[in-house]
Symmetry: C5
Subunit: 96 residues, 5 copies
Amino acid sequence: MFLGKVIGTVVASQKEATLDGLKFLVVRRLTIDGDDTNGYVVAADAVGAGIDEVVMVATGSSARQTRLTDKRPCDAVIMAIVNTLEVDGEEKYRKE
Amino acid sequence: MFLGKVIGTVVASQKEATLDGLKFLVVRRLTIDGDDTNGYVVAADAVGAGIDEVVMVATGSSARQTRLTDKRPCDAVIMAIVNTLEVDGEEKYRKE
Amino acid sequence: MFLGKVIGTVVASQKEATLDGLKFLVVRRLTIDGDDTNGYVVAADAVGAGIDEVVMVATGSSARQTRLTDKRPCDAVIMAIVNTLEVDGEEKYRKE
Amino acid sequence: MFLGKVIGTVVASQKEATLDGLKFLVVRRLTIDGDDTNGYVVAADAVGAGIDEVVMVATGSSARQTRLTDKRPCDAVIMAIVNTLEVDGEEKYRKE
Amino acid sequence: MFLGKVIGTVVASQKEATLDGLKFLVVRRLTIDGDDTNGYVVAADAVGAGIDEVVMVATGSSARQTRLTDKRPCDAVIMAIVNTLEVDGEEKYRKE
């Protein structure tokens, strides 16, 4: 998984029928210290994540191992909202 | 998924038999702000995308989770046409 | 899929038994305009591609969705020979 | 697999229900000589790895081939703790 | 697949039980001309490869399509030992 911050939304009305009801969020990749990068992914939201929250994203076939994404053409899913990130003994992020 | 813009087509008459009927489009990768990059992928079209449209592309085994691509040697599929992309509270793209 | 040019061959006599009979070709990755890069992949050939031909390569589990590669430890397959590549309204490549 | 060093933890209370009980560790990618890089992954721990240990990480669908991660939206798993790494005839790392 | 040279070994006693008996080799990635890079992967050995041999590595779910790696948390396998590599009409490598 990688760490990301939810920074936006994608709306798409014309899509594979099985994707109806899925919410697509833009997730900016974060560095190991929780800082922004230019990388991103559009991920389906399986946990009710909100803008500016730090999340974990699973990709590939693992992104389909949720009830919402099972058997759907979806290769990235937000599967957890991060409470705390601790690296090298320092707290780099804490959800408020 | 990543965001891309449809910029071309690939025609291939000599191919795996199961790929007959699939349309292959060249998709340029876009940045998080909807700008062009040099990256691209050739993707099967599952949604009737047209040249210059902004789309979402799913890759890997997830690309085979559509009726058109099921069990085919295809690792990228256009599974949605984007209506709007909003990032950091700004609308970066709106389909006309 | 990505676009590549067939530029070489790999011969390997000591290998997984299930790979007997597969032909392994070296494929140079091409840019979106059909130009050379330093990237490459060694791919199984499912379509009878020849040296210098421009081809499409599928990777990952999708590379096993052909009769020749099914259930084999093979993560890249040439699944189509390109006739024409058109990008931004220009023909970038045409098979002679 | 790649080699990494366990450098932190991620706590996430709001997540896919199937992930309950999994421990998520931050793993810094190491070079071929066992040196630090800026790359990282958040991986589920299948072997009881501790902070500062050098481990092997498997990604993709292979990350689900453990009892703890089976059928879960998890794309990276620590599947071994490294005792020794020998490269070019030199011992680059030995677990104390 | 990519081309690599076997340059080392990883010993790990604490690991997923299903991995017992697998040999893990460090494989340096080679360029299209057979030259060294800094990239590497740790791969299970399915063919009895030795130090300094040039090999082909399959990754992802394809790495599990051998008897030794089936259903194991292993995402890279050496599935062939290269005899000859020919690129652009030149022999770049021949196993001695």
